[in-house]
């Protein structure tokens, strides 16, 4: 290690620099937090139904098979844009029905095909979940994913 640097200098650089970068990082996430709730996520549409939908998403750990906005497991399709994939841009009601129909028709039982469990959701729960997926699909994700295939 360079002879020029003393240990106490190295220590001061470490502590001072880390503090500096942490403060910058915290300030930027503060701004991003504000940006998310005021601009990019249509927070005004974040209804009680959407919130309930998110809790259903969590209750059944969908994230451990699927990705959502590219994060999660890689076993099953991306769901951040599933609403778009099901034609929700032109026909929102049709897309919601398609999502609900999908959920109730699982598992497919087809040999050799990846299986999704049936979570026995009630009709109101299915509606909440579909509302959540609709809301997610409208988040401004800087143009990701590149294709509707997710």
């Amino acid at each position: 290690m360079s002879e020029g640097l003393t240990k106490s200098q190295a220590r001061n650089i470490f502590f001072g620099g880390s503090l500096f970068f942490f403060v910058v990082f915290a300030a930027l996430t503060g701004h991003s937090h504000y940006y998310a709730v005021s601009k990019s996520t249509n927070a005004q549409n974040l209804t009680d139904a959407v919130v309930r939908g998110k809790r259903i998403w969590e209750k059944h750990a969908c994230i451990n098979c699927h990705t959502i906005l590219g994060e999660g497991a890689y076993y099953a399709p991306e769901l951040g844009n599933v609403f778009v994939r099901y034609g929700g841009k032109d026909d929102p009601a049709g897309a919601k029905e398609a999502i609900k129909a999908w959920m109730t028709s699982q598992p497919s039982g087809i040999p050799g095909r990846r299986q999704m469990p049936n979570f026995q959701l009630t009709d109101p729960e299915l509606n909440d979940l579909a509302d959540f997926l609709e809301w997610v699909s409208k988040i401004n994700t800087q143009g990701w994913p590149p294709k509707d295939s997710g």
Binding site: Y35, T41, V51, N64, G72, P111, T141, P145, G150
Partner: protein, 448 residues
Amino acid sequence: MKYQSQKVALAYFACAMILFAAQVTFGLVLGYIYVAPNFLSELLPFNIARMIHTNALVVWLLLGFFGASYYLIPEETERELHSPKLAYIQLVLLMVGASAAVIGYLFRIHEGREFLEQPLWVKLGIVVAALIFLYNVTMTVLQGRKTVITNVLLLGLWGIALFFLFSLYNPANLTVDKMYWWYVVHIWVEGVWELVMASVLAFMMLKLTGVDREVVEKWLYVIVALALFTGLLGTGHHYYWIGTPGYWQWIGSIFSALEILPFFAMVMFTFVMVWKGRREHPNKAALLWALGCSVLAFFGAGVWGFMHTLAPMNYYTHGTQVTAAHGHLAFFGAYVSMNLAIITYAMPYLLGRRPYNQVLNMASFWLMASGMSFMTFTLTFAGVVQTHLQRVLGQGFMDVQDQLSLFYWMRLGSGVVVVLGALLFIYATFVPRREVIETVNPAAAPAE
């Protein structure tokens, strides 16, 4: 072993190895489900098996960190632990929490964010255990000799606990949720865990090579400064596409590209120390793991991380098998290897004997390292093909996956090798036999 209380590390290491075995076994189950998807699909669906695989991983790595701390802090501070009893209570708490969580998962009792699936009461138990731990080690350090190694280690451990608190915050807005989720996940593995890793490696270099403490400590500060200067703003590489502002594409790309530096510095550090070293330490297996750790971490975290970290590239690879490839080699190279290194180093002292089963231990290194590397290569190929078919040509996810099955078979094969390596390691470590290698230098507890 110079201090009686170091012995608590033994219990921590043993518990860590139980969870390690469980982790890789569930990994094998997951790998098998990938190629035979009807396997256990009702009894143990993929998502449940996956949370056991990842949670067991994180918990055993943390147990290893705690064990390593309890082992090296008495030696560094030159005094007994503040309270060995508290250390055992902490371990019982953690093991009860971990077992309850796993059993709960099997009965679908869990929360729903990746890696943070533990029910609230388990999370709170973890916080209590962390507080007991921090109290115990901080008191020890405050009353003893203060070294750079203990300072950096303590800072890392406090950081682990502080950033874990963000796991308790689960806002309704998915974008905000994700932002703070990364405060735990990214700032752990690319921030405060690196402090733990660097200080444990520094301790091992000091002991294994006999290089001056002054030199080791200067390196340590440089490494951890590089880690935090790049790693904090490097979090931006997860803020590209989740509803956060566009400026993260610049900040995240630049700073996370630089995250390769601390890993490169750790390679330089370990090799330069060994090269300059004045001491022939008899524990060759520990040295192999320590060098292997810095090298594999450099490839897994540094090179494989860099590969997909620039925003224009990540736009295509985000959330594909490329991510899984990187996740595996990064975790294995950095934190699995670092734990196995310190366990390999400490066990002979904890058992009061000279290094044993070294050939078996080194064989387990090569089995695991080559198995994990092969797994990383196959997943990378799978990810590249997936990226092209799905993200460039726009083919459907399930259709693309059908075309990748050859890679998933090869992943399963390499997984079997890793599991054999892991079992061999556990056997070599916990079933000491007669000496295999006659060592030149029998000094059992070398001075500094």
